[in-house]
Symmetry: D2
Subunit: 178 residues, 4 copies
DNA sequence: TTTT
DNA sequence: TTTT
């Protein structure tokens, strides 16, 4: 613990609306991806090249609620956190590893595209609504516990606080890590 | 490129002596892992728990030479860099992803255990010797280009600058990501 | 140099249009201030309090030119750099110290309020025009060398690369450091 | 508060034993300075030059107690915190400004020179003893409240949480800011 | 998958 | 795989 630091700071665009779910103990957890861009000059051609790097972000509890309410696809965000590599089992039974940024500070840097004010809860019947696409999240997907039973691939860590559900590899992603 | 940041700062212990190799174009590349520790209090038991996180680090050119000469197993190091996720093919032909810290600043924070001075090159016949375990690296392992032919799993990226050789999965690691 | 780090990262709003000048050797230097906000809960009253912190930023050469062209009052900016404390002589002959962030990375995080494109130079006769308020900077203020003679308070460091002109204390600022 | 970041990370050597005191409400506060080194190549001569930068650090409460117990002159430390500029009145009645790093994370990176274990309190009659030079701190210096009356230069901020006592300019420091 |  |  002493003589140790694990710190990440990224600024970039959110790729898709965050997925927000709740553990069986009621902890909110949000997952989303952020793209950072880097311009560099190719050593061979001398051409300027733009390169995009994608980062998986996980937020828990209050941070997850904030994400649920204010962060959506396309927003410019600041994420500060730490690196964490999770192990999970592929469908072939082999171990896989996924590195994520566990956020402890998330901020929107551009204007909220839906005009919501930070700290202001959306009205209406929905409890954790915010960005519309998240509203039906729990309906369009089985309960967290059930999800694990129905599709134990990729699995949840035994300790619910160790990590959120990993996006299914069956969901059609092929050329990107997440 | 604007409105973008991708920054990582870690301080921790080097797990094994770095692997240093050279691309076919003569670029030095070093790979090593760093452990960071985090103490936290378990929410269930209230007990203090120590948790270790492992980080893969890649260094190129001058940084790789520095690593080769001065960084060895057990050293406390500062690594500053950016996150990069590489795609490679598993033996089963499936895509895998590995996230690494591409270092642009590496420093030893404790005293050099072999008494070498930074900036001071080891004498003798060996060219990039430093930490002894690295000396025979190129002998104990096939040439970079051959390596890829003999064992195309995991493969090198086509662009040699995109990533170093990935540690073989056949090398007996089972429970750790690298 | 080893075992050393001096790193600052701030995100905030630019307080006034940057002052850009040129040293006698032709080096561009930009000075501006950035406000960061911090919300905290007062320990006595339990009330939420907003607190603003002002940071002096100095940028040199290419960074200064970028500032001159794209950064103006009110913009949300990211500044990455290092801390540096400069010594200068007050009118009373006593030593004063000013701490600044010497920037090595400056980015605008909101939309450029004047519609300029990064990397795109403004047309017209003016050489380093950009934000209009900077255009006449060198006219509204004496030459760098003269400035020091006319008003040796606060003075320029002898080495022109050590620091830019310090804002005059006679300029009406009273409750803020700059 | 949103769209704002104020972050500093330094690694360097502690210049003198920290000064630890207590506010009238019993809050511990520690003040010390840290040197960071930077090597660069002089643009005129082409010579390598080493430059030392000094940073004032302030720590409160638990961090101050940790400093009191484990941090002394010469130690290599990591300090993470935020920048804060305090205003105070010089003996001439003029405003002065001092920029400090308000620490929220302090770690010793080398071995504790007095063999103390972190978390282990020194035995004996002294309450917050640790580094010996701090033991008599409260005796060698008047009470915080009295100190301000006897020597209102430089003064304490009215709100005790805004900042610790500033080192007297009469104390013989001439060429360094603190 | 984002965005300029 | 590190280290305290």
């Amino acid at each position: 613990m002493a003589g140790s630091m694990n710190k990440v700071i990224i600024i970039g665009r959110v790729g898709q609306d965050p997925k927000v779910s709740y553990t069986s103990s009621g902890q909110a957890v949000a997952n989303f991806s952020v793209a950072t861009d880097e311009g560099y000059r190719d050593r061979q051609t001398g051409q300027k090249v733009e390169r995009t790097e994608w980062h998986r972000v996980v937020a828990w509890r209050q941070q997850a609620e904030f994400v649920n309410n204010y962060i959506g696809k396309g927003r410019l965000v600041l994420v500060e956190g730490k690196l964490q590599t999770r192990k999970w089992q592929g469908q072939d039974g082999q171990d896989r590893y996924t590195t994520e940024i566990v956020a402890d500070n998330i901020q929107g840097l551009d204007r909220n595209p839906e005009g919501q004010q930070p700290g202001q809860q959306q009205g209406g019947y929905q409890q954790q609504g915010g960005y519309q696409q998240n509203n039906n999240y729990q309906q369009s997907r089985p309960q967290n516990g059930n999800y694990r039973q129905q599709n134990n691939q990729p699995p949840q860590p035994e300790d619910e606080d160790l990590g959120p559900a990993f996006p299914s590899e069956a969901s059609g992603m092929d050329d990107v890590p997440f």
